[in-house]
């Protein structure tokens, strides 16, 4: 039963979704602090390239991941420094970094394309792996996958159940109020933009070291944009973001399956799903439609439904804050 095709497919969906989950958590931390790091697509490519080359030369995947984190943090630092200290548009800087990361990774990695390299070792967790169905899907994976799921829990707890998390959210929601309470708004933004960037770095490297193994030009192209979409349709929450990433992985798998079964029908339209969902969620956030739906249902259901549907983007997302 462990090797039934459905179980294997689900396990591979979990595996391919992990970089997205990690990057989504990173970008949620960044956006919750009030900064949009638009450079994800380029950052992930740089991290995938750096991670692979360093791991290849040092023969250690972990050193590769560290290097990828450093690159991710560095790109994020440029966005934070440019927008906070130099007061330039964070969108413009992130956007240029996206393109730069794409070209720079192609150039710097040109001598390392399509060669085998070190791989994250498979490690099944004893006992847990024997749980029927769930075991082979979630616990018969490797350290990066476990890290992703632990990260979701930690990020959620940090954001919504701790003091530092409250300070972080104040920077993105009500910077003036937070500042009056003694929160160093720009320090928070620097900190979480850089941490978020480092996580995006891990995500990029987990592509070249764990999923597609090896480096080739544009290996993760497009995924950074997808992550930005998932952050939004996950309502800036790590748990919903995780489901968003898994949903994305599942639609990909489903599309592949359908294409194999019905080769005469084109399934490229499936790729549009995350984007359509993203627009719909943004429409829900921006209009009073949700409120109206909630008013229709019986009174006793209103509160739980409101909790379920409530999505609040950070109010000060993308704005600058001048401390004085």
């Amino acid at each position: 039963m462990d090797s039934s095709p459905i179980i294997l497919t689900l396990a591979s969906v979990v595996l391919v979704s992990t970089p997205l989950i990690i990057a989504v958590c990173g970008e949620i931390l960044t956006e919750r602090s009030g900064i949009v790091n638009l450079s994800l697509d380029g950052t992930m490519l740089m991290a995938a390239m750096t991670g692979f080359i360093v791991a290849f030369e040092s023969d250690s995947v972990w050193i590769g991941f560290l290097a990828a984190m450093a690159i991710g943090a560095f790109f994020a630092f440029i966005v934070a420094f440019g927008s906070i200290r130099l007061r330039q548009s964070q969108f413009a800087i992130g956007f240029v970094l996206t393109l730069l990361g794409d070209d720079l990774s192609a150039f710097l990695g040109q001598n390392y394309t399509r060669i085998p390299g070190p791989v994250v070792k498979h490690y099944a967790i004893p006992i847990l792996k024997d749980i029927p169905i769930i075991g082979p899907i979630f616990f018969n994976q490797n350290a990066v996958v476990y890290f992703a799921f632990i990260l979701v829990a930690v990020t959620w707890f940090w954001l919504f159940r701790t003091q530092p998390g409250l300070r972080l959210r104040s920077a993105g929601d009500r910077p003036e109020a937070g500042f009056a309470r003694g929160v160093g708004i720009n320090f928070q933004r620097y900190l979480y933009t850089i941490i978020g960037g480092a996580l995006v770095g891990i995500a990029g490297a987990s592509y070249s070291l764990n999923i597609k193994i090896g480096w080739s030009e544009g290996i993760t192209r497009g995924l950074g944009w997808i992550v930005l979409a998932i952050v939004i349709f996950g309502g800036w929450s790590p748990i919903r973001g995780m489901f968003g990433a898994l949903l994305f992985g599942a639609t990909k798998a489903l599309a592949t399956y359908l294409q194999r079964t019905f080769p005469e029908v084109s399934v490229v339209a499936f790729n549009a799903i995350p984007w359509v969902l993203m627009i719909l969620v943004l429409l829900l956030v921006g209009s009073d439609f949700t409120e109206r739906v909630i008013m229709i249902v019986p009174k006793s259901l209103q509160r739980p439904l409101q909790r379920m549907l409530r999505i609040s983007p950070p109010q000060a997302l993308g704005s600058t804050f001048v401390e004085d």
């Binding site: 440029i78 440019g82 240029v96 150039f107 710097l108």
Partner: protein, 347 residues
């Protein structure tokens, strides 16, 4: 701070030189002599007539898109969705080319109008999502970019696939009368250049010399006070986006009807994103846009020759232009560098 006028004007040359230095270091790192590499790039761009024509052919849609972006940036809009607008222009032109049969004199104007409509409507979607749905144009633009590219892939692999079967590369070549007349044996269409120049002049006049341009500026500088002064921000924003989309769509038509001869998977070739960089590097000064766009086209064409000669990856051209834009963005405004800011703030 009393930095003189000329100093502020000359200062941006410093970050640009910085970009050249970093690119040279990269070349060194990969064992190439920077001077020879830049020389190869120059020869690749202007070495002979066919190369120059190819630079011009790349320049025209880039200039059209950058011109469109001048309008949206003026209104304070970050039209990252321009990439999708180029694609939809190309799709609309292709639809005409595949479905109508007529002599060139009739067909080409229809294609151009269709392309401009396609781009404009795609841009209008982004604008309406902003004014009515409160969605930032960056997010809707990104989504619409992806959806436009997915639609192209669907058309190429499905309904519009060539008779010999879907290859995912493109449609079958269009009928000859649907294609723009080309100059000599190149991909350059003089007609498209004329259209681009007219578009640029009209946009400069509209932005500099009309009341509409003033209204856009008011919206771009301060949306709320413009609204209080009675400028209908919704109408002007949608119009600004649609004009930009129309020019981008025209650029898409030029790509599909002269650079290629069919609808291709990567029809835009990143021209929309590049146009955003052109306008950023020009720092929204209109008359810098055509030369910078030409420079970008030359660097990109030149880097292909560089790859042929030195085996170095052609992404070097992109790196050079992107570093220029990044450094100018970060360090190009002397006043914002804030080297003297501490003193000012304290005083």
């Amino acid at each position: 701070m009393n930095t003189s006028r000329w100093f502020r004007w000359v200062w941006p040359a410093v970050p640009i030189a910085g970009a050249l230095v970093v690119t040279s270091l990269l070349l060194f790192l990969f064992g190439a002599a920077p001077f020879e590499a830049f020389q190869a790039m120059y020869q690749g761009a202007f070495g002979d007539q066919s190369k120059t024509l190819s630079v011009l052919a790349f320049w025209v849609p880039l200039l059209l898109s950058s011109t469109g972006l001048l309008i949206t940036f003026k209104a304070g809009l970050w039209n990252i969705g321009i990439e999708g607008q180029i694609v939809m222009g190309a799709v609309a032109a292709s639809w005409v080319a595949l479905n109508l049969e007529a002599p060139s004199a009739v067909l080409i104007p229809i294609e151009i109008v269709a392309a401009m409509l396609g781009g404009a409507l795609w841009a209008a979607l982004s604008a309406v999502l902003k004014t009515r749905g409160n969605i930032h144009e960056i997010f809707s633009g990104l989504a619409l970019n992806s959806i436009a590219i997915i639609l192209t892939n669907y058309l190429i692999s499905g309904p519009w696939q060539p008779p010999e079967g879907g290859t995912f590369r493109g449609t079958a070549p269009f009928q000859p009368s649907a294609l723009l007349p080309l100059f000599a044996n190149s991909r350059f269409s003089p007609l498209s250049l004329i259209l681009a120049v007219i578009a640029f002049i009209l946009v400069v006049i509209a932005l500099r010399g009309t009341f509409w341009g003033l209204k856009l500026k008011a919206i771009g500088v301060n949306l709320r006070s413009a609204f209080l002064l009675g400028v209908s921000s919704e109408r002007e924003m949608i119009l600004a986006m649609m004009f930009c989309g129309a020019l981008a769509g025209l650029g898409g038509a030029v790509r599909t009807l002269s650079w290629f001869d069919s609808l291709r998977q990567s029809i835009s070739g990143g021209i929309g994103f590049m146009a955003l960089m052109v306008v950023m590097l020009a720092n929204y000064r209109m008359f810098l846009v055509p030369p910078i766009a030409l420079f970008f086209s030359a660097v990109l064409s030149g880097s292909i020759t560089l790859q042929l000669r030195t085996q170095l990856h052609s992404s070097l051209g992109g790196i050079l232009t992107e570093l220029m834009v990044l450094f100018v963005l970060l360090f190009g405004d002397w006043a914002k560098l804030g080297i003297f800011r501490k003193k000012d703030d304290d005083g």
